[in-house]
């Protein structure tokens, strides 16, 4: 076997030009589909990681198809329901940043809530609550910083609330760019300041979040919440998860369908190329058969030869995809996946590799590839050696 491998390597190195075009094309195709898999896995990983720390239910007042501010008195009502803990009102909304014509997301945070502070500490290195509350401060996402810097708002920014006043808010810190994909367009500020800037009246919040510690109680709690108020919208964490999962599976699916079409075309070209076996390939088979190589030995040799080519192409393709997604941050493909919702995406993908999907790519690419190339060789090898030699 080692002698055969040695001979195979000699042939591969000598006739490398013959395999070069197929090697490069395969690498390109594998790198495209691997990039899609990397991006999709990374986004799902980041979103689900973020969602994991979110409350189980989000409740909004909903009337005539419109979302309204939610009364704070609902908080007390929900606290009365068994199985519910950690009921909180949230203030958030969007701010239109006129100079760049972009929307930022303002989130009001309660710095006296230990859970909020601990979550916040994951996003920025450390926060000194007293210092933060000593004046009107905000913590901004990396995309927000980029746009503020562009117009020389290095230290502060003046917000214009609906009451036509001016609120000067200082930049306290920037969120870690690596944190996750949902923090880029975010501005975090004290809840009362957010209320003022977004024009949310006292006695109201944007929505209410609550947690159900016992997962078995979730369905019961859901029913109780639904019958407590009919003018409300109930969003369950699991539904959001499913939504994102479907969204990125759908986007990834479109790519996979396109990829399959490309692969099939590629295999068709390959088949056409190999079904008319070139003189040099036929001569190679003829020589081997004449020298006493059995049909199965010739076929295995050709399979092995193509496995070498496709394996090298696979390794190169996956490495290129890794570099493209995690080092270059996937230009072009990133926008197709994440869209242009609020800001141009400045996200950095965190490595989240799905080995199962990579293995499937390997199988779905290699098996048809090997078959496409091997079938014509097999057809040739099974002929009488004298016929091949002709």
């Amino acid at each position: 076997m080692l002698n055969k491998l040695n001979f195979l390597l000699i042939l591969l190195l000598t006739y490398k030009k013959k395999h070069l075009s197929i090697f490069l094309l395969s690498s390109l195709l594998i790198s495209i589909v691997s990039s899609v898999v990397f991006i999709s896995s990374s986004i799902k990983h980041d979103i689900f990681h973020t969602l994991e720390s979110q409350a189980d239910f989000t409740i909004q007042k909903y009337k005539a198809g419109k979302v309204l501010n939610t009364p704070t008195k609902w908080i007390d009502e929900f606290l009365q329901i068994d199985g519910i803990t950690n009921v909180q009102g949230r203030i958030y909304g969007t701010h239109f940043y006129e100079p760049a014509e972009e929307y930022f997301t303002i989130i009001g945070i309660d710095l006296f809530d230990t859970q909020v502070v601990s979550s916040l500490n994951k996003l920025i290195d450390d926060i000194n609550t007293t210092q933060f509350l000593s004046r009107q401060n905000m913590i901004i996402g990396s995309d927000v910083k980029k746009f503020l810097d562009e117009y020389h708002y290095f230290d502060y920014y003046n917000f214009r609330p609906p009451d036509r006043s001016i609120e000067k808010v200082f930049i306290y810190d920037t969120l870690n760019k690596h944190s996750n994909i949902v923090s880029g367009d975010t501005i975090l500020m004290d809840i009362s300041l957010a209320r003022k800037i977004l024009g949310v009246e006292d006695g109201y919040v944007t929505d209410i979040i609550l947690t159900t510690p016992n997962p078995q109680e979730i369905d019961t709690v859901k029913i109780k919440l639904r019958i407590s108020h009919f003018d409300m919208r109930l969003i369950q964490k699991e539904e959001i998860k499913k939504y994102y999962q479907n969204l990125y599976n759908y986007k990834g699916g479109i790519f996979l369908v396109l990829y399959i079409i490309v692969i099939l075309s590629f295999l068709l070209i390959l088949y056409q190329r190999y079904s008319i076996i070139s003189n040099s390939d036929a001569k190679e088979v003829a020589i081997l058969r004449q020298l006493g190589w059995q049909i199965k030995e010739v076929i295995w040799f050709k399979i092995l030869e193509n496995i070498f080519v496709i394996l090298s192409a696979y390794i190169l393709g996956v490495s290129l995809a890794y570099f493209y997604v995690y080092f270059l941050n996937a230009p072009i493909l990133k926008n197709i996946f994440l869209g242009y919702s609020n800001l141009d995406i400045q996200t950095i993908f965190s490595p989240a590799i799905s080995f199962t999907e990579l293995f499937l790519i390997f199988i779905f690419f290699t098996v048809p590839f090997i078959a496409t190339i091997t079938i014509p060789v097999w057809r040739l090898s099974t002929k009488e050696p004298s016929e091949i030699i002709k």
Binding site: N3, K4, I10, L11, T14, Q290, L291, G292, Q294, P385
Partner: protein, 221 residues
């Protein structure tokens, strides 16, 4: 001993059947040299292909050491070619981009040999074929005579008992043809069975030929 009995070989195409060999019978003793002569298209190459187990006859039997090899499976015929037969052909069936040495590797990799044994066999075959000085050279850069010697070296590398030569001097000049005849003489002396098909007249008066056969339109003349 090789015994061919009533060999027929015909090829069919859409409109006609072509009989390449008709009722050919012959006996070749071990260590004999047999010369098969005939014009182009007389059936020489077909006969050699059947003897070399590269082709099966339409009917008839070929017995080697008492076994009818016509009914052999691919595994057996391949094994037989691998162990017992060396081919020297007119068209240089060589890997043109490989070196002379690497060309000799192709038949050896099928055997469970150590790198040292392989090296030794290659060195030996290159010396017999008088092409040792070109062993690291790429085949495509060799002259016709050198390519022929490379083919001889490859045919001998496994130390086969039977040598099948199909028009071996067709692409050679007189000088190289005479050198080839000298090599054949040495191989015959070493006890190899040599079956040679040619229409080159240079072989006609060789003293070490044991048997001569003339083929005409697929029949022994």
């Amino acid at each position: 001993m090789i015994v061919m009995k009533n060999i027929y070989k015909s090829f069919e195409n859409e409109s006609e059947i072509f009989h390449a060999l008709e009722d050919v019978s012959l006996k070749i003793q071990e260590g004999e040299m047999i010369l098969i002569q005939g014009e182009s298209g007389s059936g020489k190459s077909t006969l050699l292909s059947i003897l070399g187990l590269l082709m099966k006859p339409t009917s008839g039997s070929v017995e080697i050491k008492g076994e009818n090899i016509v009914s052999f499976s691919d595994i057996h015929t391949s094994d037989y070619r691998k162990n017992e037969i060396g081919f020297i052909t007119q068209n240089f069936h060589l890997f043109e981009e490989l070196t002379v040495k690497d060309n000799l590797l192709a038949p050896l990799v099928l055997h469970p040999l150590s790198p040292y044994e392989i090296e030794k066999k290659i060195e030996n075959a290159l010396t017999i074929a008088n092409i040792h000085h070109k062993k690291e050279q790429v085949v495509s850069s060799l002259s016709r005579g050198e390519k022929q010697r490379c083919i001889i070296a490859r045919a001998l590398v496994n130390n086969p008992k039977i040598l099948i030569c199909d028009e071996p001097t067709a692409n050679l000049d007189v000088k190289n043809s005479l050198l080839f005849i000298e090599t054949l003489k040495k191989l015959k002396k070493n006890g190899r069975t040599i079956i040679l098909a040619t229409h080159d007249t240079i072989f006609e008066n060789l003293t070490f030929i044991d048997q001569k056969i003339s083929l005409k339109e697929g029949k022994i003349d």
